[in-house]
C-alpha cells in the first residue's frame, strides 16, 4: 500500500481540536443538567398524572423519541426562524440537546418512579408524611439511584449525537475535524484521531457521571 499515514498533520491543529472538545463538553454539560431537570419535571407530571402536563409530556416524549436528532436540530435551526424565532447555532444546538435528553430522561426517570415498591409509600404514609414529602424523600432519591446507569448511558449517547451539530455550523469537535481535513487534506487521519477523542470523551464522561451519581445518590448507583 502506497499511502503513508501522517498523523502529525492532524496534531498541528491541536488548538482547534481542544477548542472543539471544550464546546462539545459544554454542549453536553448544559444539555445534561437542563435535560435532567426537564426530564424530572416530565416524569413527575406523568407519574402523578398532573393534567394537562401529563398529556403534553406524553406527546412530547413520543415525538422526540420517534424522530432523529438531526431532523430536530434542522427543524429548530432552519424551521423556527420562519415563525419569527431567531437563534444562533449554539442556541439551537443547546435547545435541541435539552429537548432530546429531556424526552429520554422523562421516560427513564418515570420507570424508576413507577418501580417504587408499594410498601415504601405505605410506610411513608403511615408516618404521616405528605404527598410532596413522600415524593422528594422516599420516592425520588432511590428512583434516580436505580435509573442512574441508564441516565449515564443516555447522556453519553446524546454527547456522541452532538456530532451532527457541525451541520448547522456549531463549532464543536466534529466541526473542528471537518475544518482540519479541509486544510490538511488528511481526511482519514483527521477523522480517526477525532473518533478516538470521542471515545475517550465517552469513557471520561461515563466515569464522571458515575462518580457524580455516587456522590449525589449514595452507594446504590453503579
Amino acid at each position: 500500500m502506497a499511502y503513508a499515514f501522517d498523523f502529525s498533520a492532524v496534531l498541528e491543529y491541536r488548538e482547534a481540536l481542544l477548542a472543539g472538545t471544550g464546546r462539545t463538553l459544554m454542549l453536553t454539560g448544559i444539555g445534561a443538567v437542563a435535560g435532567l431537570v426537564l426530564g424530572t419535571a416530565g416524569a413527575v407530571s406523568r407519574a402523578w398524572r398532573l393534567a394537562p402536563f401529563d398529556r403534553i409530556f406524553a406527546v412530547y416524549v413520543e415525538l422526540i423519541r420517534n424522530t432523529p436528532f438531526l431532523v430536530q436540530l434542522f427543524f429548530i435551526f432552519f424551521g423556527l426562524p420562519s415563525l419569527g424565532v431567531q437563534m444562533d447555532e449554539w442556541q439551537a444546538a443547546i435547545l435541541a440537546v435539552v429537548i432530546n435528553l429531556g424526552a429520554y430522561s422523562t421516560e427513564i426517570i418515570r420507570a424508576g418512579i413507577e418501580a417504587t415498591p408499594r410498601g415504601q409509600i405505605e410506610a411513608a404514609q403511615s408516618l404521616a408524611m405528605t404527598r410532596r414529602q413522600i415524593f422528594f424523600h422516599v420516592v425520588l432519591p432511590p428512583a434516580l439511584a436505580k435509573v442512574w446507569p441508564a441516565i449515564c448511558s443516555q447522556v453519553v449517547i446524546v454527547m456522541l449525537g452532538t456530532s451532527v451539530c457541525s451541520q448547522i455550523a456549531a463549532e464543536e469537535l466534529t466541526f473542528a475535524a471537518n475544518f482540519i481535513q479541509s486544510r490538511n487534506f488528511r481526511a482519514f487521519e483527521t477523522y480517526f484521531v477525532v473518533t478516538a477523542m470521542y471515545f475517550l470523551l465517552a469513557v471520561g464522561v461515563r466515569q464522571v457521571l458515575a462518580l457524580t451519581g455516587q456522590r449525589l445518590l449514595g452507594r446504590r448507583s453503579k
Binding site: 427543524f75 451532527v164 470521542y198 471515545f199 465517552a202
Partner: protein, 218 residues
C-alpha cells in the same frame, strides 16, 4: 415564494422515505446476522473472541455514528476503493447495528437465571446443548421486545447518512428546504415521515414488553 407545490414536496419526500426504509431494512437484517456473530463471540467460553467482541461493541457504542461513517467513507478510498455513499451508509449502519444488537442479545442471554445453567448441567448436557435447548429459547423470548425497540434507533440512525451524501429522507428534506424556502413546512413533514416509520415500531415494542411482563413465561 417558489412555485413548487405542496404535492411536489410530499412526492419527493416519499421518494426519500423509500430510501430511508430500504437502508433501514438492509442495515437491520444484515446487522442482525452480524449481531448474531457478535453475540456468540461475546458469550464464548474462550476469552479471546469474548474480548474482541467486547472491544468491537465498545468502539461502536463509544463513538459517533457520523464518525464511523466518515471513517468508512474515507478509509475505503485510502485502500483504493471509491465506494458510493449508499454503500458506505449501508456498511456503516450494518456494523453499528451489529454491535448494538450483539450487546442487547448478550444481556438477554445473561438475564437467564444461573439455576437454568446449573439444572441443565446437572442433567449432563454439554455447553452447546444447554445453549440450544435451555438458554437460547428463553433468551429469544425476552429479546424480541428490545430488538424491535432498537429498530427505531436504526431508522433514526439513517438520517446521519445524509451527511455523507446519501439522498434519503433528511437529505431530500434539506434540498427541498433550500429550493422552496419553506424549511418549517419541509422539516415538519420530514419529522412526520420519521414518526410514521418509528412510532408503530415503538408502540409494538412496548406492547411486546407488556405481554412478556404480564403473562406466563412460555
Amino acid at each position: 415564494m417558489s412555485d413548487i407545490e405542496l404535492s411536489d414536496i410530499v412526492r419527493n419526500l416519499l421518494g426519500g422515505a423509500a430510501w430511508t426504509l430500504g437502508l433501514s431494512l438492509t442495515a437491520f437484517v444484515l446487522g442482525g446476522l452480524a449481531g448474531l456473530a457478535v453475540l456468540f463471540a461475546r458469550i464464548a467460553r474462550n476469552p479471546l473472541p469474548r474480548r474482541l467482541a467486547q472491544a468491537y461493541i465498545e468502539v461502536f457504542q463509544g463513538t459517533p455514528l457520523l464518525m464511523q461513517l466518515f471513517i468508512i467513507f474515507f478509509g475505503s478510498s485510502l485502500i483504493g476503493l471509491e465506494i458510493p455513499p449508499w454503500l458506505a451508509a449501508a456498511l456503516g449502519l450494518t456494523l453499528f447495528t451489529s454491535a448494538y444488537l450483539g450487546e442487547i442479545w448478550r444481556g438477554c442471554v445473561e438475564a437467564i437465571p444461573k439455576g437454568q445453567w446449573e439444572a441443565s448441567a446437572s442433567l449432563a448436557m454439554s455447553h452447546v446443548e444447554q445453549m440450544r435447548h435451555v438458554i437460547l429459547p428463553q433468551a429469544l423470548r425476552i429479546a424480541i421486545a428490545p430488538t424491535v425497540g432498537f429498530s427505531v434507533q436504526v431508522v433514526k440512525g439513517t438520517a446521519v447518512t445524509s451527511i455523507i451524501g446519501f439522498v434519503e429522507l433528511t437529505k431530500t428534506g434539506s434540498m427541498l428546504a433550500n429550493a422552496t424556502f419553506q424549511p418549517f413546512l419541509v422539516f415538519g413533514l420530514v419529522a412526520l415521515g420519521y414518526f410514521a416509520l418509528c412510532y408503530p415500531l415503538s408502540a409494538y415494542s412496548r406492547m411486546l414488553e407488556r405481554k412478556i411482563h404480564g403473562s406466563r413465561a412460555h
